[in-house]
């Protein structure tokens, strides 16, 4: 018979049973998340890439003329955005539905966050670092891009637009 390793610390069989349930629960939940992280590549945005936030305008990627949507060779889109008090630049972004989108974002000043409610597009935007989010939008419509991290007294009004267009118009833009 298999000896319960918990027996040395816990005499009550009922309580031992409960501890086993707790342990299995914890491992099961973490295991599920691990499974999806590996099999479906569901991970939070975790890009380790530095940039000098005080010189964004002098870099090629985040220079004012290069911001916005660009199409990559494989058909995916790259959206380059700058977060600065109190707005996202460029202020309106248009992307087609069901298309892989890579957001590349940098802050020109303080800590910001971005969240597009009802989608999984969210990341912190930290001065000194480039944030990268890879996602796609399954439903077309007008979305709001909200700053979700306190960035100063005007924080509330820091938001802009994301328009997800039907596939047909996607052909025209690209």
């Amino acid at each position: 018979m298999f000896a319960d390793p918990l027996k040395s610390i816990c005499e009550d069989p009922l309580e031992r049973g409960w501890i086993w349930i707790s342990l299995i629960l914890a491992f099961f939940m973490a295991g599920m998340l691990g499974f999806y992280a590996v099999s479906n590549n569901i991970n939070p945005p975790s890009n380790v890439e530095t940039i000098d936030s005080s010189r964004l305008h002098l870099t090629e990627e985040f220079a004012e003329d290069n911001l916005g949507v660009t199409t990559n060779a494989d058909g995916s889109l790259t959206v380059t955005l700058v977060a600065a008090r109190y707005g996202f630049y460029p202020p309106v972004i248009e992307v087609p539905v069901d298309t892989p989108v890579i957001f590349r974002m940098a802050s020109a000043d303080v800590l910001h966050g971005v969240h597009v409610p009802f989608t999984n597009m969210t990341t912190m935007v930290v001065p000194g670092y480039i944030s990268e989010v890879r996602t796609s939008f399954p439903r077309s419509g007008e979305y709001s891009l909200l700053c979700n991290e306190y960035c100063g007294l005007g924080h509330d009004s820091m938001w802009s637009r994301l328009v997800v267009t039907e596939k047909s118009s996607a052909g025209e833009t690209s």
Binding site: M29, Y36, S46, V110, G113, T122, Y129, G152
Partner: protein
């Protein structure tokens, strides 16, 4: 008469006057216990008032009230008072009193303990000046590169250093007691208190490094820039385990004060120790679940921290079992029959029992939300939304703080020698706190799912959002008002207890007896050496490279920004 002034004078003078003390050894710490807890509860009352103002301001109901300066100053002060001042002073006061009464031993070094207390008080007063004048509206999480006045950082540091004195006192008291009582088992209440002291010391090193090496030199102009990634990583070291520092007194009260109050016994002394040890080991090296959405840390590290985050749920699940089993014993001893009959048989009119039951309920609700926040992937949907605010108000403002009330109602009569001014008022106060907290936090969860960001002072967003948010936003005003009234009732009741003519019959604190008498406690459950070593190894593994990387790669610091 100005009640606030009287209370402040009371808090300052109480340790020095020292009347009504019994001859029991526990009374040695009654002065510092009362003084510390009064500082905590005065901070709490002020913070509750600010909270009430914030829920009104936030909804844009009264346009005249609208002021981001005032709102973010208020949010910063509310956070500092609730999360740093109430908690630290309550933990210290309760800890000193628990140590002397459970060990039946005098304070290790009384003048040093008072020195730590005054250092912490001076720190709070120093930080209060920039906070109240709008020069530290950087929220209690500091948020560099927003820069506050240096007095804010220095004040916060003094508060932490003052609390380190308490850590030292607790460790020394347990050590000297063990020397004087070889082979005996450290009482569970003291074992938990010492675990918390060690936990807090290790935990606070993260934020202490951030403040001492980055923020203070930066705010004084000694260094020009800070690496925000490093600052946030160091803060995350503190940010999760600090909530267990706050929660520990609640658990200690559940394990060691509740069973007697309910008229029963503690189901298992040993499992209490296991829970405290697990909290100590697993709560510090898991701070990256606060950084899931941050760049600058790779996904693998976040995943490692998530594993630990789920493990830290285990001691809470164990606690839930042990406490409910202890309550069942009490209910059955009181004549409760059947599977659920014992619940009705519990003494619901006893503040400790009522608070514990309500705390467990809120812990259950909050725990569900916490699992979602902890999930590496699902957190994406709720990160930095009002959902998170709802979650921690349930777990901290609900579960933890309601147990602080119960601790106060139980210990005030012991510490002052006077009976509680009104038990009826205490019971009503606890119910109001519970109801107010649910009305406040359940709608906040809904707002979060509907996309509302946290930390906003108004809602100048797309009309479709604002309309959808309105009902839940209105509910939170009602919740805030109820909570404010409840907070005033607590302070009034405790204040009036000092002048109560009726003396408390016995000043002995009644600690729970375990169901099965302790035969021989394994060494590992009666000491901390091995566990501290384990925490250090675990910390090096989970924070070593993530901190070192900032020194290995080319990083760019950030200059200070005003709010």
């Amino acid at each position: 008469m100005n009640q606030a002034t009287t209370l402040a004078g009371d808090a300052a003078g109480i340790g020095l006057t020292g009347t009504n003390r019994s001859s029991t050894i526990g009374a040695d710490a009654a002065g510092i216990g009362l003084a510390s807890m009064w500082v905590g509860f005065i901070a709490f009352a002020v913070a509750a008032l600010l909270g009430f103002y914030q829920v009104i301001e936030r909804i844009d109901l009264i346009p005249e009230l609208k002021s981001p300066e005032l709102y973010f100053g208020s949010v910063s002060t509310h956070g500092v008072l609730m999360a740093f001042v109430l908690t630290t002073f309550l933990v210290m006061g309760y800890g000193y009193y628990t140590a002397t009464t459970s060990l039946k031993q005098e304070l290790w070094n009384k003048p040093l303990a008072w020195f730590g207390f005054w250092l912490a008080v001076i720190g709070v007063l120093l930080a209060a000046v920039p906070l109240l004048t709008g020069n530290a509206s950087v929220l209690y999480t500091f948020y560099p590169p927003l820069m506050a006045h240096p007095a804010f950082y220095i004040g916060a540091t003094l508060l932490v250093v003052g609390s380190w004195v308490w850590c030292l006192e607790m460790v020394m008291m347990m050590t000297t007691w063990k020397k004087a009582h070889p082979g005996e088992t450290v009482p569970l209440a003291m074992y938990g208190t010492t675990a918390n002291a060690i936990l807090w010391f290790i935990t606070s090193l993260g934020v202490a490094s951030e403040v001492l090496f980055q923020l203070i030199p930066w705010s004084l102009g000694i260094i020009d820039t800070v690496d925000v990634g490093l600052a946030r990583t160091l803060f995350s070291w503190t940010l999760h385990a600090i909530v267990y520092f706050w929660l520990f007194p609640a658990y200690i009260a559940l394990y060691t004060l509740l069973p007697k109050a309910a008229g029963g016994r503690l189901f298992s002394d040993q499992m209490g120790r296991v829970a405290f040890i697990l909290l100590l080991v697993f709560s510090v090296p898991i701070g990256f679940h606060h950084l899931y959405m941050d760049p600058f840390q790779a996904a693998g590290w976040k995943f490692l921290h998530m594993m630990g985050t789920f493990m830290v749920a285990v001691p809470t699940l164990i606690t839930g079992f042990t406490i409910i089993a202890s309550l069942e014993i009490a209910g059955k001893l009181r004549g409760g029959k059947g599977l659920f009959g014992w619940i009705a048989a519990l003494p619901w009119g006893n503040p400790m029992v009522l608070a514990a039951l309500l705390a467990l309920l809120m812990l259950t609700f909050g725990g569900f939300g916490g699992m979602i926040n902890a999930s590496y992937a699902m957190n994406t949907m709720v990160h930095n939304t009002q959902w998170v605010t709802g979650h921690f108000h349930l777990i901290f403002g609900g579960t933890t703080v309601i147990m602080y009330f119960a601790i106060a109602y139980t210990l005030w009569p012991k510490m002052t020698g006077r009976q509680l001014y009104s038990t009826g008022m205490a019971v009503k106060q606890l119910w109001l706190w519970f109801i107010g907290m649910l009305i406040l936090t359940l709608p906040w969860h809904q707002l979060g799912l509907a996309g509302q960001p946290r930390r906003i002072s108004s809602t100048p967003y797309d009309e479709s959002f604002v309309q959808a948010w309105l009902p839940a936003e209105s509910a939170m005003i009602v919740g805030g008002a109820i909570l404010f009234i409840s907070a005033l009732m607590l302070v009034y009741n405790l204040f009036r207890t000092h002048g109560n003519a009726q003396a408390e019959a016995s000043l002995e604190v009644e600690y729970a007896e375990p169901l099965h008498a302790i035969q021989r406690m394994p060494h590992l459950m009666n000491s901390f050496g091995f566990w501290v070593l384990l925490v250090i190894v675990y910390m090096v593994a989970s924070y070593g490279y993530p901190i070192a990387q900032f020194f290995l790669m080319d990083t760019y610091g950030t200059v200070p920004w005003s709010i």
